[in-house]
């Protein structure tokens, strides 16, 4: 019955697109199931192998340069797991098959896009706009589906050299797509959306006391050329404060992340120059949550256990990594005053998540090493099974210059009840504020 409903939705989506040309099913199949004919093979890099300072050099083509250096320096050992299939939701795939998106004349413009993956074709290194297409695939990816919550979400600020935990912040994060929805009603978009919002993120700080009740709301518009709107509620001021865009490229609550780093990249396509640098088989932190070394230190009332951390400073998730197909995507800011000169993203080809990103400072030196773990929903919370969402499950942002890191431990929940539209209004910040 559930499958039937999903198929009906997909059919409805197709019908809503009228006479538009559909994507080649074979291309879509290849895009969403890259391991159908077998997992990528790197000689010697088999499940159970542990990458250490002693042996990592022989696998250097399968490890991004930042992580390679850290393993060489003995900061962390990486255990390899089996490459597994992270199938996204069938409705998202169906919507992709029905799609016929094209790029507009300038960066940040996309045409004829309704839902799904806008550009399922393999990127062409000779296509000058291949990077931009990959960026759109990420932007309109099924990252958290139509909506989801990280509920709760623990961040820790740590000293890399000593492992000292300087600060711990407990959040709730909520995500909602206003448009390009494929799975939950209304599909494909909400009716009352006068400014054409694409996506909203709502963040609420629960602990500690000095930042308790801080709330953040980000509205991203469908028109990528339109600047995001963001508001911050500060508990000690009891007031909603509109954020300047500069604040999205600044340390968020003193962490090693900026708002623009959320989910790998949290900004407009038009803010960056995107360059496709090739396709590689590299190790990425994909795994089954329930098979990992977990910690129960947070005493979750449902008994949920979080991903644990290890390695130098406790800055590394203690998870297994898979050899996966990745697109290397470089982004450099259009704004010359941006604090980052470029990011190099390793885009997971199957899910279009951004599990690994290397961030360079304005001088071009490596600055931060950004890891977002991906958990298979079939091996996570019961409510996440069948969601078709690659679950963001932990993160690590290491500032290699400041020798500092911020780690994140998620309880990701794909649950529409946690994300009503009323949560994503400016007034909700005031209503929730204390």
């Amino acid at each position: 019955m559930k499958l039937l409903t999903k198929n009906m939705l997909a059919a409805a989506l197709l019908a809503s697109m009228g006479t538009a040309m559909a994507a080649d099913p074979a291309v879509v199949e290849k895009s969403f199931f890259p391991y159908k004919d077998g997992a990528p093979v790197v000689e010697g890099l088999t499940p159970g192998v542990v990458l250490t300072a002693e042996n990592v050099d022989q696998f250097q083509d399968a490890v991004d340069p930042a992580l390679l250096q850290q393993i060489k320096d003995g900061w962390v050992d990486i255990t390899i797991g089996e490459t597994t299939d992270f199938a996204l939701h069938p409705n998202y795939i169906s919507a992709t098959e029905a799609g016929n998106a094209t790029l507009g004349a300038t960066a940040g413009e996309i045409q004829n896009f309704v839902a799904g993956r806008p550009f399922p074709q393999e990127p062409d290194i000779n296509d000058p706009r291949a990077g931009e297409k990959l960026a759109w695939n990420y932007q309109y990816g099924y990252n958290w589906g139509d909506n989801a919550a990280i509920y709760p979400f623990y961040w820790r600020y740590r000293k890399l050299e000593t492992g000292k935990i300087e600060r711990q912040i407990k959040f709730n994060f909520h995500f909602l797509n206003w448009k390009h929805r494929v799975n939950q009603e209304p599909v494909p978009e909400f009716a009352n959306n006068p400014s054409g919002l694409f996506r909203s993120i709502y963040v609420q700080v629960l602990e500690p006391f000095d930042v308790k009740n801080t709330q953040l709301l980000i509205h991203r518009y469908e028109d990528d050329l339109k600047r995001d709107d963001a508001w911050l509620y500060l508990g000690f001021q009891r007031r909603v404060r509109r954020l300047a865009s500069g604040q999205v490229t600044d340390a968020f609550l003193g962490s090693d992340l900026m708002i623009e780093d959320f989910e790998g990249y949290n900004g407009r396509i038009s803010d960056m120059n995107w360059t496709y640098k090739g396709t590689r088989n590299v190790i990425l932190p994909f795994y089954n949550h329930n098979d990992q070394a977990l910690t129960s230190e947070y005493k979750d009332p449902d008994g949920y256990e979080f991903i644990d951390f290890h390695g130098k400073g406790g800055c590394y998730p203690n998870v297994t990594w898979q050899v996966r197909k990745a697109y290397v995507l470089e982004s450099s800011s259009v704004d010359p005053n941006h604090p980052i000169s470029k990011r190099v993203h390793y885009v997971d080809a199957q899910t279009f998540t951004l599990p690994r990103t290397i961030i360079y400072d304005r001088k071009g030196d490596p600055w931060k090493s950004w890891t977002i773990c991906q958990a298979n929903p079939e091996h996570h919370l019961a409510k996440n099974k069948g969601s078709g969402v690659s679950i963001d499950d932990c993160f690590s942002m290491i500032d290699v210059q400041a020798k500092h890191c911020t780690t994140g431990q998620f309880k990701g929940q794909v649950d529409p009840k946690l994300n009503p539209t009323s949560l994503f209004t400016v007034q909700n910040l005031r209503a929730k504020g204390r």
């Binding site: 009352n192 009891r238 404060r241 509109r242 009323s422 007034q427």
Partner: protein, 647 residues
């Protein structure tokens, strides 16, 4: 309207009952959902003032409790929230010679003197002298009883800020009201030593900072109603520091003048709010309508009491001295003829009483507001309307009083006589606000504007020495995070500036023969603030520089401070509060208002039988309206250290 002495005690009992209900609810195990969330802090704030020494040693315990309930009937997200605060300020014990039971001393009041015949034909000369309280000349209306009003425990009005300089002054009792009841205005400025030491534990139960029940009623069309009932803070507006729209709750300036976070100094009030949260509509990105009713009896701003460290505008000192003049009589410097210290018997000049308006749970005397707020095409906006009572006091003359120049007790109103009641008129406010982002300059702008009708101001041109004026206030705020590499290479510096303007639309001022007369408040005045805030060590160390300049007062306050989050639990804040500039200013003091014609007329009065001001002035009492809170605090430079432990 009732005078304060008769104010009701019903409502504190109601608040206590509210506490009991909340505690009972939080202890129940059958109707609750989730755990009770408890947090709080203990804090010590120690301030040292230039030329004084210890000016604050405030020890605070604050507890915040929140309990979520299961959905109840049609309501969801039902919770009770309470904030409880207790304070002990040890300054009244550790520095009791300045602020406690030993404060004040005997005083001498200035007499600049008059030549023979100047006071009246045939009058003797009065040499320049310093005259003790109780040692002024005595006029036919009589003297005051030095036994009831001794020259002890007093401070000359304004003497910490300026010399008398030919103006008027009188003694201000300094000790807490249980030690020295002189000048204590019942129910308004009558704090005992324990009231000052433990300010939250009073008959309004201020230790209950907040205690309210909140519930949401989802509607079928997707919107929802939010209801909140209880003691709470309701915050309007978008800007910092200035209270253009943020006027629902009165403010306790006695805590740290204008320099504490508003969250800590808003006086929570019993308020009911009903808010329609429409969310997205076909036109608006967000649209909401809020209605509010203040059901707790009116409370004015707390201006601080004479004899305490934080007395904004030094108004509390003036009021206390004036109430002492009314109830016990007083000696006024340089009064008669503008040069002779003069003794006044009781009930001639001064402040008689404070009349607090409003009632508990009153519909007819209550305060109401409405706000429409939303987001339209990415621009946040609000439209606000509020019917409330002015939170700053106004002195209304024209009360029955005696003539200083006749032996009889007349008890009749005298025009232009400085004999007042304190009142709080009803005011209507219309306002609005917007905020928006300007991408080319990477800046956020916040704008608030309010237009009020019904506010009253001092005015020596009017027989009762006050008049009404419509007022426009506005503030424009600007925020820009900016990378300044020499301060921090990886973290932006917050630059935040605001400009505030106030315009009295019915302002009256004229040039009298001896100086300006009319309304001492500036017709148009502007203040500007600038905040520069930097972060280091993952935001655990944050120096900042906050400055504010009052254009009319020509005074600047600079407050550099460092905030160090030692751990998640411990926070240390240390800083200075320094003022520069002009400070005290002069205006007509109404000595030459000729309230008892022809006895008080001067040679420059065109008709000695017609009262009216001709403009002789000094620093006191009306110059304070020109100096403003920054200028009147010109001599209150402080080192401020606060340490807080959170739990």
């Amino acid at each position: 309207m009732s005078i304060i002495k008769n104010h009701s005690r019903t409502a504190p009992r109601f608040l206590l009952a509210l506490v009991a209900v909340a505690l009972a609810a939080s202890s129940s195990t059958t109707v609750m959902a989730g755990d009770t969330d408890v947090a709080g802090f203990v804090e010590n704030a120690t301030f040292f003032r230039d030329d004084i020494g210890l000016s604050k040693m405030r020890n605070t315990v604050q507890l915040e409790v929140e309990k979520m309930f299961d959905d109840t009937g049609s309501f969801s997200a039902v919770f009770i929230s309470g904030t409880f605060r207790g304070t002990y300020d040890a300054v009244y014990d550790l520095n009791d010679k300045d602020y406690g039971k030993k404060a004040g001393s005997s005083i001498l009041l200035e007499q600049v003197g008059l030549p023979p015949g100047a006071l009246f034909p045939g009058a003797p000369g009065f040499p320049p002298a310093m005259v003790p309280h109780g040692g002024g000349i005595v006029l036919p209306g009589g003297d005051f009883d030095n036994n009831l009003n001794p020259n002890d425990g007093l401070l000359v009005l304004g003497s910490l800020l300026h010399p008398t300089d030919g103006g008027v002054a009188f003694g201000v009792p300094q000790r807490p009201c249980n030690v020295d009841s002189r000048g204590c205005i019942d129910g308004y400025m009558d704090a005992s030593l324990n009231d000052l030491r433990f300010p939250e534990f009073n008959d309004r139960l201020d230790f209950i900072r907040e205690l309210y029940l909140d519930a949401t009623l989802p509607m079928k069309n997707g919107g929802e109603w939010g209801f909140r009932f209880g003691r709470q803070q309701v915050v309007w507006g978008r800007t910092d520091l200035f209270r253009v729209l943020d006027v629902i709750n009165p403010v306790d300036f006695s805590r740290n003048n204008i320099y504490d976070e508003l969250e800590d100094i808003r006086i929570p009030m019993g308020i009911f709010t009903a808010e329609w949260r429409g969310g997205q509509t076909k036109t608006f990105d967000d649209l909401n309508v809020q209605f509010l009713w203040k059901w707790e009896k009116f409370r004015p701003n707390n201006l601080g009491q004479g004899g305490t460290p934080n007395v904004i505008l030094d108004a509390g000192s003036f009021f206390r001295g004036m109430n002492n003049c009314w109830e016990n009589g007083c000696t006024v410097a340089n009064f008669a003829g503008g040069g002779v210290a003069t003794d006044f018997p009781p009930t001639v000049i001064g402040i008689r009483q404070a009349n607090l308006p409003g009632k508990w749970f009153s519909v007819s005397d209550g305060e109401y507001g409405m706000k429409v707020e939303g987001v339209f095409k990415g621009v946040g906006f609000s439209l606000n309307a509020l019917r409330f009572y002015q939170q700053l006091p106004v002195l209304r003359g024209g009360i029955p009083s005696d003539n200083l120049f006749t032996p009889e007790v007349e008890a009749i109103p005298h025009d232009y006589l400085i004999a007042f009641d304190i009142d709080f008129p009803r005011v209507t406010l219309y306002g609005g606000s917007i905020d928006f982002y300007v991408d080319p300059i990477k800046s956020v702008f916040r704008v608030e504007v309010a237009y009020t009708q019904g506010e009253e101001f001092a005015n020596t041109l009017r027989p009762r020495l006050f008049s009404e004026s419509d007022v426009v206030r506005w503030v424009i705020g600007w925020d820009r995070p900016t990378f300044i590499p020499f301060l921090n290479k990886t973290r932006a510096v917050l630059l935040s500036a605001q400009v505030f303007g106030q315009h009295l639309l019915d302002h009256e001022i004229a040039q009298g023969p001896l100086g300006p007369i009319g309304m001492p408040d500036w017709k148009n005045n502007y203040l500007a603030t600038l905040l520069i805030k930097v972060w280091y060590m993952n935001d655990r160390l944050s120096p900042q520089l906050l400055s504010a300049y009052d254009n009319g007062a020509d005074t600047l306050v600079v407050a550099p401070s460092v905030d160090w989050l030692i751990t998640d639990n411990w926070r240390l804040t240390a800083g200075f509060n320094l003022k520069f500039g002009k400070g005290a200013q002069k205006f007509s003091d109404c000595r030459t208002c000729n309230p008892f014609p022809p006895y008080t007329s001067t040679p420059v009065h065109p008709d000695p039988f017609v009262p009216g001001d001709v403009g002789l002035g000094g620093f006191e009492p009306l110059g304070r309206f020109r100096s403003g809170p920054i200028g009147m605090g010109r001599q209150e430079n402080e080192l401020q250290v606060t340490i807080r432990y959170r739990f």
